[in-house]
């Protein structure tokens, strides 16, 4: 005897209806939101703690969407070729996601937005940002300590780029509507975030996820540390200079064998000036007088490709940078005490020592990173249009 036969006719009908509804809900063709978790593989010697917001876990689908958006000029809210702009317009993989000093549009590495307004500072590389806990941008203003809840992480920088006059100079509603209208994107948003409705927050989350995958850990120096490759005699001489207090003493701020990021991600006044009036230095964030003229220490990974150098791009070549640290340091009351040769004007390297130091610094070039297809332009966007290269 069947189970239903144990009940009266009305009850049997009601139970049957419920079962039909249940079955129909199981067979309905609504897509199921089931993103695939993406786990960053931590390279040897790298930090295990990562800056990934709890409300934006990494997923394969989120990263895929973020890569498309990173390279889609319609992120500016425009479809006219001369008005399109995306992250990839300035952030070139071949230049370690800076624009480089030889960019055909941004002459000398000086970037500007769609309307021609100059960006306040020169670019910072986008390398290993997932391990930055000390704030983003030259001043570190984008950090979890920012009282403005919408200026705390990479997600927020994306949103700022869309509307900033010196970047996309756009309207987030316009961008959102345009992305929504492009065939293929709603499906990608649904896979990544469970909704076909495009929001600026989800656009930002996707691009931030992609950005966090940009990991450099395979330079010649990394291979040396892993015992896979030897450095040349000159490179080793440079390494000793880099790592010793009586040498060039780079490691206290830029890391080294004990800190493979090649930056502490902290902020220092490194003795470029004696007068400080930049409204976007570290002092602008902390209000601490000792932070006048202080900026984030940049990573030295791929540094040979990321000129011009310093927040204001004042040095065009690595040679100029080394000359500055050797003979061009300017003492001021705000210079960091780690710049301990300040009263001598610098570390006073010989030409041979400068060459050795640069030879070592060039071992931090990571061609695996610079050519990794997972970081490159997808070529074709979801609707078949061409992506920014």
């Amino acid at each position: 005897m069947g189970l239903l036969n144990q009940f009266s006719g009305k009850v049997r009908w009601a139970i049957s209806l419920v079962m039909i509804l249940l079955l129909s809900s199981c067979t309905h063709d609504d897509p199921i939101y089931n993103p695939t978790p993406y786990q960053i593989t931590v390279p040897k010697f790298f930090p295990t703690r990562m800056n990934i917001p709890a409300d934006n876990p990494m997923t394969v689908e989120g990263i895929e969407l973020g890569r498309y958006l990173f390279y889609d000029g319609r992120m500016s809210g425009n479809t006219e070729p001369d008005k399109m702009m995306s992250c990839g317009t300035c952030h070139l993989q071949s230049k370690s996601f800076e624009c480089g000093i030889d960019h055909p549009r941004f002459i000398g590495g000086r970037t500007f937005g769609i309307t021609g307004i100059l960006t306040p500072h020169y670019m910072l590389p986008m390398i290993n940002l997932v391990w930055n806990e000390s704030g983003y941008l030259w001043s570190g203003s984008i950090s979890e300590n920012n009282p403005n809840l919408s200026q705390r992480n990479i997600e927020d920088i994306v949103g700022m780029a869309v509307t900033a006059p010196h970047e996309f100079a756009g309207d987030s509603n316009k961008t959102k509507a345009l992305i929504q209208s492009i065939p293929g994107y709603p499906e990608l948003f649904e896979k990544a975030f469970g909704s076909r409705t495009v929001t600026m927050r989800n656009i930002s989350k996707a691009i931030a996820q992609f950005t966090r995958t940009l990991i450099s850990s395979d330079s010649k120096f990394d291979k040396y540390m892993r015992g896979e490759q030897q450095l040349s005699t000159q490179e080793l001489s440079g390494y000793v200079l880099f790592m010793t207090e009586d040498g060039a003493d780079c490691f206290h701020c830029h890391g080294g064998s004990g800190n493979p990021l090649f930056t502490t991600n902290l902020f220092y006044n490194n003795g470029k000036d004696s007068v400080f009036n930049d409204s976007r230095d570290r002092f602008s964030v902390t209000g601490d007088p000792s932070d006048h003229g202080a900026y984030k220490v940049t990573t030295l990974r791929n540094i040979e490709l990321t000129g011009p150098y310093m927040h204001d791009g004042r040095f065009k070549t690595l040679d100029e940078v080394i000359d500055f640290y050797s003979q061009g340091i300017i003492w001021s009351p705000y210079i960091h005490p780690l710049m301990h040769h300040a009263n001598d004007g610098g570390i006073q390297l010989t030409p041979g020592e400068k060459a050795d130091l640069i030879a070592f610094i060039k071992t931090l070039r990571d061609d695996t990173f610079l050519t990794n297809p997972a970081y490159s332009s997808p070529g074709t966007l979801p609707d078949g249009e061409k992506a920014i290269k």
Binding site: F46, P47, T48, F251, G256, N259, P289, L338, H340
Partner: protein
């Protein structure tokens, strides 16, 4: 405060260590050139970061209780308030203790490169070519030279080496201080106070004009600093038993 048993039967207590820094009794003011050491150097301290490890309490009956949480190592950074108090997971038997000791820095068996991969401890790393491991301390500041030049000092301690890099010296040292206490049911706060000036007084009078501002590659200077370091700390205790 964690109690291992009921209020009326407390047998183990959880101590909290608080780290304070002064100059001859006055709380340290960072970045203010107002201190004069025994050698007559006017100086300021801008940054102070250091490790202490292997904190051990010796009981009246001779039993030694070592704090073992977090690899028995604690990092202190004036710019990171959360590091200025440490409540390890260890419980210690309630009772009478007569002394406290700790290692300033990290002892040889633990002081190996790779121990820390995350900041801020990671940024204390000491170059492998100079012995590896981690700085015991970084104290950065400025002093005024005899020529009235404000000049940076980097009072950094770690593993020393001889001139040709073939012999390494472990400059960490053990500080032992009397501590006549009876751990109580409440509180049990051990305050560890560093008197900055003591680094420059005895047995070696520290004159930056003679020694220079940087000592990482100057083993005799680091040895002198380590000798002075055993006199740098004081401890006090506060605990309460309910009436």
């Amino acid at each position: 405060m964690i109690e291992s048993c009921g209020k009326d039967d407390v047998k183990s207590v959880a101590p909290t260590f608080v780290f304070k820094h002064n100059v001859n009794g006055s709380e340290l003011e960072k970045g203010v050139m107002k201190y004069t050491n025994l050698a007559g150097n006017l100086y300021e301290v801008d940054e102070l970061q250091y490790f202490i490890s292997e904190i051990t309490l010796t009981a009246a009956d001779g039993q030694r209780i070592e704090i073992k949480s977090d690899s028995a190592i604690h990092y202190i950074d004036l710019d990171i308030p959360s590091t200025l108090a440490w409540s390890p997971e260890d419980l210690i038997p309630k009772g009478d203790y007569t002394s406290i000791s700790f290692v300033f820095g990290i002892s040889e068996s633990k002081n190996k490169t790779g121990l820390y991969v995350n900041p801020p401890e990671r940024d204390m790393f000491w170059p492998d070519i100079m012995g590896g491991g981690y700085h015991y301390m970084k104290m950065n500041g400025n002093w005024k030279t005899t020529g009235d030049l404000i000049t940076p000092f980097n009072f950094h301690l770690g593993i020393g080496m001889n001139m040709d890099g073939t012999v390494f010296y472990q400059n960490c040292f053990t500080v032992t201080l009397p501590l006549n206490i009876h751990t109580a049911s409440l509180g049990n706060v051990v305050t560890v106070t560093m008197n900055i000036e003591k680094w420059f007084e005895a047995p070696n009078v520290w004159d930056w004009n003679v020694i220079g501002g940087q000592i990482m590659m100057n083993q005799p200077a680091m040895h002198m600093a380590a000798e002075n370091g055993v006199n740098v700390f004081q401890v006090s205790f506060q605990g309460t038993d309910p009436e």
